[in-house]
Amino acid sequence: MTTISKKVCLLGDFAVGKTSLIRRFVYNRFEDQYLSTIGVKVSRKTVFVPRSEEMVELIIMLWDLAGGQEFDNVRTSYLRGVSGGVLVCDLCRASTLDSLPKYTNELAHINAKLPLVIAANKADLLDQHQVGIDQVEKVASMLNAPYYLTSAKQGEGVETLFRQLGKLLIG
């Protein structure tokens, strides 16, 4: 079986649930304190993706980048060598969806053809939603990226998100 490693960055505004998404399904070794000190924490997610007539073991090295403005300068250096991106927004805050094009532009400076997926997070908090599915669809279409409704709390959609990202990275 072929083993391939790829670097993927998670981008999104503060408190959209990037770290929670990772914490639930991804192997962690390092403390979350790294996020507040140097603005990044690296985790690993392994998925198996079919490619032609074989299965590929894809090791996704997830760089969880702090969303605050104080890390805007360093964030650019963390994007070097990235192979794909997960754009995370919070369905309960409309502004987080509006920020996604900004993060896409940052990634486009590295590579304009990077595979991207959008995680519309906190799908379980239905009564607090400020963003409709049609709005997410519109942004996803504009950014040319598939979207997934996810809930870090309940685990909904997270595995599918990473699996689809894996297919995009290998395909």
Partner: protein
Amino acid sequence: MTIQNSQDSQLIDEIEAELSQNGAPPTDDAAFEMLRMLLWDEYQGQIDQLQSDLNRLRTTFDVTDQEFKNDALLTQRISPIIAPAIMTSIHESRAMMIEALYPIVGQMVVRAVTESMRDLSRRIDHQMRSALSIGSFRTRFQARLRGVNGEALLLRQALPFHVEEVFLIHGASGLLLHHLSHDPEVHLDSDLISGMLTAIHDFAQNVLGHAAEDQLNQIQYGGKVILLEAAQQVYIAVVIEGVEPSGYRAQMREHVLEINLAYHNQLRDYDGDASQFLPLATQLALLMMAEDEKAKQKTIKRKKRLSATTNQATSLLPTPQRKSWSSTIIFIVGILVMLAFLGSLLLWQIRSAPTSIFSFSVRSII
């Protein structure tokens, strides 16, 4: 209108003949067509030629444009002229080139000098530790008995050095390319460590590195140190315990530059398949056993020197035993010589000054 040459008149004749054959009277359109041909026929060939040239240029432009968009092809095209161009620039505008290269070369020189000074201070420190102390004499005696260099043993005791892990990491992505461990049974999350090391490296460079050459080259925690040595597209991280011997960093740098050069294309277009770097295991293993190798080489040199000077009788014995025996014999002979010297001195004292208190007391003892 004046018809200026015979070709034109021939053309008019042909057109009129064609029109009369068709049986139709010459209309205004036909006359206009005739006039147009008269005026433009001479230039039509040139226009066609220009059109052809334009098409050719367009094709050339498209090919060149494609080449410019393809990084690898562009590099292949321009690399043969870069070196001569630089040489010409250096030759023609030396001062300007010095000014341009100074920030880079200056930093490199500073770094090299700093490292040399550090090595020098280490050597001086080592000399001060090893010279003229009872402990050092004992160590030298032990070293001689064990058949190793006294300085090497002293250094080993004073500056313990042990390589635990060697990581080869892709500079841009932080992905692990190869990893060696002193203890294969210890399972480190080497890929996570390489990612975080790269993040810390990038953070330090972003926050503290004012020049592109400023890089994090060491992280220390307790008795362990992570030594970092980077090339353009790859870097090596070595986890050690103790203090690295002089020259170890130079060895790291040599390896990382060699790897960067040999795998330049694979590193530039790295697709995440680390299996292509498996052949580097042997080269990286040299960093794992660097200390052992140095000690081994010193021992070999020493053995060669000894074998050249020892006599045939002792050369029949196995080497370690021979060294041990020769050391012991030298030690005993030394003591015997010293005793003989003291004895002769005593006898001389007795004979030359029989009335002295010293000789009296010796005589009474005898």
